[in-house]
Amino acid sequence: MSTTVTWREIDLGGSVAGGTSEKYKTGNWRVERPVIDYEKCVRCLICWLYCPEPAIIRKGNEVKIDYDYCKGCGICAEECPKKAITMVPEEI
């Protein structure tokens, strides 16, 4: 949501138009970012299955983290059977 919208024009009763959740980038909630080591990755797709957001984008068997929405929960790193995902502290 735009932070310039005043109370006079904001939508009625806390409702918002459909499809707007894409505009709400939650990536800045993150304290640590998951980084995939593609050398170790065996494309098992476990991380893609477990990501609750879902912020792991899959194309065929290839995976990529979507940092616009990843909140850094670390579930992917925890579940990766090859320890191919490392949680790296975000710089402030």
């Binding site: 949501m1 932070t3 919208v5 005043t6 109370w7 006079r8 904001i10 939508d11 009625l12 009763g13 806390g14 409702s15 918002v16 138009a17 459909g18 499809g19 707007t20 959740s21």
Partner: protein, 398 residues
């Protein structure tokens, strides 16, 4: 009453509860959901009979609690339906979090409240503890003194709630048992007159798959405050809308409502303020006091939220003494809620001496002599300047 206005209505004898149900039937609501609780039960019992007998084409949703009742009505209202629920006492307390959802979502729900004391100890009789408990929930709040007012307010509640400048829920309260269970004569508008007055609901949120929106969204530091500020403005807008609806209803019915009801106030030095069925008792008491030469009048509160600030300021600044009678206690506060509303309205320009009396809790009877006693004691306390605390009337040991 004017002949034209009379032709638009009929005389009928019903209990307060049935008067509400009759108004809701005439308002042609789409969805009703409620849970039985004394002394409100007969409202929804009668409504369920109307639905069962085909007199009202509405969906009646049986639920397992008041929390679910209001939640069901919230869902139906979001879908665009005209909705109604009713409750009292613990039932209203159980609705508490959904009260804020209804107003925050800007839903024109109408609720009847047969006002009753709150537990503990458990008590089924009338006071205004439940009503004042929802003061800050963002609902428009009316109080009907008897069946006529309660019926009229219930019809008008839909009109006010659904006005696009408002879109807020409305509660119409009336005294449990005293009004809810007493059969009285009153004038009801004819069905076609109500139909024309209210029409069908066309405003407010309406879930529509062709124009998909999210309702009940998460709004954090960046937007919650703006939504609440807009909601506050809707309550401010309601002042004007209520005035317009009262006027239009007056033209149709011949009954002209005002937020504050005055009786013998024009030359009064002392004013007794009350709400609910006590207002009628106070008028009777004042009539007796006037015969003995006391310059006293009564103000009854019909519209509590939005608090009629301008009307209250003009009216209450005229008196030397104001004696507020409150059927509610606010432990630890300076005085009761109505006393505080009046002092806040008059601040800082007032010379009036104000006295607050807590009376009638749990249905403790207040006869006319009780009002006379309160007047005499209140006048004495006011003249001695003993305005530093709230007083009790009718409790053993005082």
């Amino acid at each position: 009453m004017m002949a034209e206005a009379l032709a638009r209505q009929h005389r009928i004898a019903l209990t307060g509860n049935d008067a509400v149900a009759y108004a809701v039937k005439q308002a042609n609501v789409d969805v009703i959901s409620a849970y039985p609780i004394t002394p409100q039960t007969f409202v929804v019992e009668t409504l369920s009979r109307y639905v069962n007998d085909g007199e009202l084409n509405a969906k009646f949703i049986n639920v397992e609690s008041e929390h679910s009742a209001l939640s069901a009505v919230i869902g139906a209202s979001l879908a665009g339906a005209r909705t109604f629920t009713a409750t009292a006492s613990q039932g209203l307390a159980y609705m508490w979090e959904a009260l804020y959802a209804a107003s925050g979502l800007r839903l024109p729900i109408v609720m009847a409240l047969a006002a009753r004391a709150l537990s503990a100890p458990i008590n089924i009789h009338n006071d205004h503890s439940d009503f004042f408990g929802m003061r800050d929930a963002g609902w428009i709040m009316f109080n009907g003194e008897e069946a006529q007012e309660t019926y009229d307010l219930t019809i008008m509640a839909f009109k006010i709630a659904e006005d696009p400048r408002v879109l807020l829920p409305v509660v119409v309260s009336y005294d449990g048992f005293i009004v809810s269970h007493a059969i009285t004569n009153f004038y009801a508008l004819n069905d076609d007159v109500v139909k024309e007055f209210l029409g069908v609901r066309t405003t407010g949120p309406r879930i529509d798959s062709d124009n998909a929106r999210s309702y009940g969204v998460l709004a954090l530091q960046d937007s919650y405050f703006e939504f609440k500020r807009q909601q506050y403005e809707a309550m401010e807008n309601a002042r004007q809308v209520i005035q317009e609806v009262f006027k239009k209803y007056g033209e149709i019915s011949g009954r002209n409502y005002r937020p504050l009801k005055e009786y013998m106030t024009s030359d009064a030095e002392t004013c007794i303020v009350a709400m609910g069925s006590t207002v009628g008792t106070a008028r009777h008491a004042v009539k007796n006091l006037r015969e003995k030469g006391e310059k006293v009048g009564v103000v009854g509160i019909l519209q509590y939220r939005p608090w009629p600030v301008k009307e209250a300021e003009q009216l209450f600044s005229r008196f030397k003494r104001i004696i507020v009678m409150e059927k509610v206690m606010s432990p630890g506060a300076r005085a009761g809620p109505v006393y505080e509303d009046i002092t806040a309205t008059l601040y800082p320009n007032y010379n009036v001496k104000m006295i607050d009396f807590i009376y009638g809790l749990g249905g403790r009877d207040i006869p006319a002599q009780g009002v006379i006693d309160i007047y005499k004691r209140g006048k004495e306390l006011a003249d001695k300047g003993k305005t530093d605390k709230a007083y009790f009337y009718g409790v053993r040991g005082e």
